[in-house]
Symmetry: none
Subunit: 215 residues, 4 copies
Amino acid sequence: MGKVEDNKKKKQNTLLKTAFDLFTSKGIQKTSISDIVNQAGVAKGTFYLYFTDKYDIRDKLVAHKSSELFRHAYQKLLTSDLTAFEDRVIFLVDHIIDELSNNKILLDFISKNLSWRIFKRSLISSATEKDNLDFTEFYQEKILGAEHAAFHNPEVMLFLIFELVGSTCKSALLYEDPITMEELKPHLYRLIRNIMENYRKDKEPESLSKTQKKQ
Amino acid sequence: MGKVEDNKKKKQNTLLKTAFDLFTSKGIQKTSISDIVNQAGVAKGTFYLYFTDKYDIRDKLVAHKSSELFRHAYQKLLTSDLTAFEDRVIFLVDHIIDELSNNKILLDFISKNLSWRIFKRSLISSATEKDNLDFTEFYQEKILGAEHAAFHNPEVMLFLIFELVGSTCKSALLYEDPITMEELKPHLYRLIRNIMENYRKDKEPESLSKTQKKQ
Amino acid sequence: MGKVEDNKKKKQNTLLKTAFDLFTSKGIQKTSISDIVNQAGVAKGTFYLYFTDKYDIRDKLVAHKSSELFRHAYQKLLTSDLTAFEDRVIFLVDHIIDELSNNKILLDFISKNLSWRIFKRSLISSATEKDNLDFTEFYQEKILGAEHAAFHNPEVMLFLIFELVGSTCKSALLYEDPITMEELKPHLYRLIRNIMENYRKDKEPESLSKTQKKQ
Amino acid sequence: MGKVEDNKKKKQNTLLKTAFDLFTSKGIQKTSISDIVNQAGVAKGTFYLYFTDKYDIRDKLVAHKSSELFRHAYQKLLTSDLTAFEDRVIFLVDHIIDELSNNKILLDFISKNLSWRIFKRSLISSATEKDNLDFTEFYQEKILGAEHAAFHNPEVMLFLIFELVGSTCKSALLYEDPITMEELKPHLYRLIRNIMENYRKDKEPESLSKTQKKQ
DNA sequence: TATGAATGAGGGTTCATTCAT
DNA sequence: CATGAATGAACCCTCATTCAT
C-alpha cells in the first residue's frame, strides 16, 4: 500500500506549510532553509529531496495559493445563479478581494510574487486537475460561458482587469493609501464594468477608434 | 572647504552610480557591498560613512530615478502647448513609457521597488527641490492646472491610472505578455481617457451611481 | 541457483563499470556513491552489499585494469617469436604504452593509483587466475624464460625499468612535456636496453663497481 | 612603516605551515579549511584573504617546499669543489635524497604533488628571486656550467634522471620495496651516470643509433 | 576622513550511511 | 536480496561590519 507515498506527501506538505509561515512572517530573504527544516522538524537533507532551493518552494507556494484562492471564488460562483459575464467577473473579483482582506499575510505574499503569467497557469489548475487545458480555452468555456464570442479581445480585457485589481488592492488593503478597500470598491467595480463595456461587440466602440486616431 | 565638500559629494555619487549599475546587472540580492566598493574604487569602510546599508542606497536610488523619470516627462510637457488635462496626462504617461521601453533595466529596477507612496513623493521632488510641498497641492497646481476643480476625486483617479499603467506596462515591456507595448498602448490610453471621463464633474456620473447601488 | 549467482555478478560488474566511467570522467573525488548507483540503475543500499566504500571499488578497479593491460601485452607476446629477454621486455613495454596512448583516460586513472607493489600483484594475476603464485617465481618462469639465471639482480632491474617507464610516459603522454611519446620512445628504449645490459652476468660490470667505490 | 605588511606575511606563513602539518599528518583530502584555520588560530574568512581554496595553498606549498629542497642542495654544491657535470648532478641528487630520507613526511607530500612541470618552475625560483629566468637558461648556466654544450639534448636527459630518481626513491624510502634506499643508491647512481654518458657528445652514441634502427 | 585586514556567524549544499519496508 | 527515504554532520564559502591605523 501507499504508506511510504503517504508519508512523503505529508512531509512535503509540512515543508510547504512551514515555509509559507516563515516567508510571510520573516520575509523570504530572511528565511533560511535551516529555519524551515528546524521548524518543520525534518533534517536538512530532507528539504533537498523535495525542492531544489528556496525559490523552488516559493514558486510552488505561489502557484498553489493563487489556485486555491481562485478555486474558492470559482466554487462559490458555481452555487450562484449569475449568468451575465460582467456579474460573474465582479463576483469572482469581489470574493477574492474579501478573502485577501481577511488574510493580508497571504495578500502580501501573493502580491510580491504573482504575475499575469503565473496567474494564467494557476487559473487553469484551480478548476481542473489536468494541466493539459489551454488558458484561453478554459477561460472562454468556464468564465465567459454562453457569451463566448461576445467580446473583442477577451484576453487583453482580462489582463487589464487583473493588473488593475492586483495593484490597486495591494495599496488599498495593505496601506489604505489613498483610500480603504471599502472606499475603493465602488470605483474599482465601476471601472471594471467600464472596461468590459468597451470590449463588448454589440457596443459601438467609438472611444477606441477615437483613441487610435489620436495616439 | 568647498573642495572637501565636492569630494564627498563625488564619492557618494560614484557609490550611487556603481550601486545602480550592479543592482540592475546582477540584481540587488547578488550585489554585495564588497562589489560596490571594489567597482567604485573606494574602501569598504567608506561606504558606511555615506550609507547605513545596502537597502539604504537602494531606496535613495529608487526615489532619485523615479523623480528623474517624471521630471524628464514633465519638462517635455512644459514645452508642449497641450492644455486639456486628459491630453497632458496621456502625454506624461506616453513619455515615461517610451523612456522605460528604451531602458528596460531601469524599468525592471523601478517596477520592483516603486509604490504609489514613493511615487507621490518623487512626483513632488521631480519638479521642485523643496520637499516641503504637499502632493495634492503640487498635483493640482502643476498638472491639473486650470482644471483645478473639474474632477470628482482627482487623487483616486490618478491612483487608478498610476496602478493600471505601472502593472500593465511592466508585463508588456518585460515579457510582451499578453501583448507588446505597442499593441497595448491604444487599449491603455483609451482606458485612461475613460477613467478620466468618469471622474469629470460635467459628466453625468451614471455608472458610478449604478455600481454603488449594486455593490 | 546459478541464476541468482549470475545476477549478483552482473550487478557487481555494472557497478564496477559505471564507477570506472565516472572516476575517469569526473575524477574520483567528485564522484559520489549516489552518482554511481544512479547511473548503474541500482539502489543506494545495494552498493553496500558489494563494496565497503568508494575506495574499495577503486582499488578493485586498479588491480583489474592493470592486470588486463599487462595480460593483453603478454598474450600478444606469446604469439610473437621473440626469444631474447631484452626484446621481450621492450615488446611488452611498447605494447602497454601503445594501449595507454590510445586510452589516456585509463592512463590517467592508472598512473594516479598504480605502484610497484600493486604492479607486482597484478603482473601475476594477469597471466593466471590463481593468486597463490609468487611474483618472483612467475617473473622468472614466464618472462625471463630460458634466461632464468642470466641477470645479477633481476627484480631491481625490473623495478628500475618499471618506475622509469611509468613516470616518463605519464609526463609524455598526458602533457607532452618535455617531448611527445613518439619522441621519447627511442630515448626510453635505449635506456631500458642499457639497464638490462648493465645487469647481464656475462658482461663486465665495470660501471657498477666504479660507482660503488665512489658513493 | 610596514607593520601591516609584516603582519600579513606572518599570517600567511602561519597558514602555510599549519596546512603543511595537517596535509602531511591527515592527508589533503581529510584536511578541511576549518581544520587549518582552527589550528592556525585565525578566522575562517582570513583564509580566503590569502588563498582561493585548499588546492591553491597546496600548490603554493609544493612549489615552496621543492624550491627549498633544491636550494639547500644547490647551496651545498656551491661550497664543494666539484667541477665535472656528472659529479655535480650526483651530488645534488644525493643531497636531496638524504634530506628526504630524514623527512619522509616531506617526501610523501612532494611525491604526491610534484611533476616535471612544477619541478622546472621551482628549480628556477630556488636559486633566484627573479621569475623571469628561463628554465633552460638557468639549467645550462648554473648546473651545466662550463660544459654548456657538451650534451645532446640536455633537457631530455635531465627529465629522464628526474623521473627515475623521483619514482624509485619514493618506493625505496617509503616502502623499502624492492630494496632500501641505501641498497638502491649504487644502482641508481650507476644508472644516472650511464644516462649522462649516453648523451655526452664526445662519446660515440652507438647504442642510440642501434636502438633507433631497431624500434 | 579614509582605509582595508580581520572577523566569524551563518548561509546553502552534499553525501556516506542506515534501516524499515 | 534489494530498496530508497531519511538523516545530520560536515563541507566550502560569503559578507556585513568593525576598528586600528
